[in-house]
Amino acid sequence: MEKIFRKIKNAYLGMISLFIGMRVTIKNYFAPSVTLEYPIKKKKMAPNFRGMVDLKPEACVICYQCIKICPVAALDLTHKQMVADGKKKNEITKFTYNAELCCFCGLCDEICPTDAIFMNKMYEVSVYDHNQVMNIDLMNENKYKHVDANYSLAAEIKINDLNTVGIIQKSPVAPVAAVAAAPAVSAVVSPTPAPEAPKPTSTNKETA
């Protein structure tokens, strides 16, 4: 008898628990929606958002930091020395970006000493052909026009000025780079000073 009573009690409690669950869903039925109607209303990306890699061509000092840090070799840079008005000057001959290899880690943005290379806020980057994103010429003003007709480098640069990645307060403490012999045991880890721009008059190490 007790068994039957317990069974009935359990069934009753079970029913109640189902009704409690249904109360939660009906409460949410009348709650406002949290989603956006995506293609119509678009989310504005935060200034730190990592979209496609972009470049301010005039700011680049050809230091090769981004090439060295890129974990997936998505960037390709060559340059040659030019003599103009009696002054030696390095000029980029090729600076391409392969968005298919890119892992959007943002290390190039972070390491760039002059903030020339940065990540823009594009996130709709569907194309019909691999070639359209495999060799993007970063020196071109309209590099992403074929992906997004509304792309504008000036606007992207403007948004990017707000971003905080790779921008840190300079601190006089020594860099942290630990060396094999003496690992740094500094209590405060401080940023390394921004790497110097390579000297404009490089030697013949750099080839055409």
Partner: protein, 374 residues
């Protein structure tokens, strides 16, 4: 027909069902070879490796800092925790101390990501049990709040690449303090809602209670870690028992289960969200001033030595075994992924259950294939 039966007797045959690699409830590209007797699982053989990218070989060809983005892709739901585990391993290798603010920021971020990861786990578990999408959407709604914050902080929504050797990528934004406090308040309310919707729901209880019981000694023998181990009743949490960073300064409990069934695993995760909220609350109050940002170290060499660092990931203990030969790149980087061991125990606990229960147990183990296959 009747003649055959008369001659040979009624025969029954085992049915071999290939569950996966594409299947709604295998959480990625897991392939389970099931031998069924009717609907009872006689044998289950997991086949893995569909997502094998040889991350460990990649690590041998990348500098230490270059490998951080790859750790994001291991357990893609707990990217921050993976970043943290790797960075701590490298710091241990370099014997490098970081300042308190770095630890605090890392703690906040890692715990928030643990919440996000557990939310996904709870949602997909409910989905596996056939609660069509509703709990999952609620969980994703709350996870979205964390992801939004991460998006603002580091620019990524899934693969964050936020931790740096010696620091973090960027400072927390100015409004993060208020945002996180609001989130804690909000999430505590929502946890109550999950309890109402799922935890004590009669159907949910009948589906998960006493299903897939994992005994503590079996769990330890199989090297199961994380919420799965704690659900079996072993009070073991690396954060508590072998504290790294500043976890010894925060007050939090380690929720454990009683039986080790699917419901306990679910409940432990749900409780851990609450505990993580506690940690975040304390961390956000006690965060010291200072500089948490570390500039990317372009090049550094590690002394020829080795380090094994394990951290408490949302799924268990993530270990990085780094061997250095004094070069720019690690000589060997072994990733001990928690899901790998947690999946290995699956065949032994699903034998004798039926297919629906197997799906339930698989959902409660909360595996991520990116981590298993590496």
């Amino acid at each position: 027909m009747t003649e055959i039966i008369a001659k040979e007797g009624l025969r029954s045959e085992e049915l071999i069902v290939n569950m996966g690699p594409q299947h709604p409830s295998t959480h990625g590209v897991l392939y389970l070879e099931l031998r069924l007797d009717g609907e009872i699982v006689v044998d289950c053989r997991p086949h893995i490796g569909y997502l094998h990218r040889s991350c460990e070989k990649i690590a041998e060809n990348r500098t230490y800092i270059q490998f951080v983005p790859f750790t994001d892709r291991l357990d893609y739901l707990g990217s921050m925790n993976n970043n943290l585990g790797y960075v701590l391993a490298v710091e241990k290798l370099l014997n490098l101390q970081v300042n308190a603010r770095v630890s605090y920021v890392r703690t906040i971020i890692a715990e928030l990501n643990r919440i996000a990861s557990h939310l996904v786990s709870l949602g997909t578990f409910a989905q596996d049990l056939g609660a069509y999408a509703t709990p999952m959407f609620y969980c994703f709604r709350d996870r979205e709040k964390i992801v939004e914050l991460f998006d603002e902080i580091c620019g990524g929504r899934l693969t964050y690449n936020y931790m740096r050797i010696g620091g973090v990528q960027t400072e927390l934004p100015a409004h993060a303090d208020k945002y996180i406090k609001d989130f804690i308040k909000y999430e505590r309310q929502k946890l109550q809602e999950y309890n109402e919707l799922l935890t004590y729901n009669a159907i949910f209880l009948s589906r998960t209670k006493k299903i897939g019981i994992l005994k503590p000694e079996v769990a330890i023998n199989y090297s199961v870690t994380g919420p799965m181990l704690r659900a079996s009743g072993v009070k073991w949490d690396v954060r508590k028992d072998e504290p790294y960073m500043l976890y010894d300064q925060f007050k939090f409990d380690v929720p454990i289960g009683k039986v080790g069934d699917s419901w306990d695993r679910f409940k432990v995760r749900l409780d851990e969200i609450g505990e993580s909220l506690k940690i975040v609350e304390q961390a956000i109050q006690g965060i010291p001033a200072g500089n948490a940002v570390a500039k990317v170290n372009k090049v550094f060499k590690a002394p020829p030595s080795e380090s094994y660092m394990r951290t408490e990931n949302p799924r268990g203990e993530l270990g990085f075994y780094l061997v250095s030969d004094g070069g720019l790149k690690p000589y060997r980087n072994k990733i001990r992924s928690p899901s790998f061991s947690n999946l290995a125990v699956l065949p032994s606990i699903v034998r004798g259950l039926n297919v629906s229960d197997m799906v339930c147990v698989l959902g409660s183990t909360d595996i991520v294939m990116g981590e298993i296959d590496r």
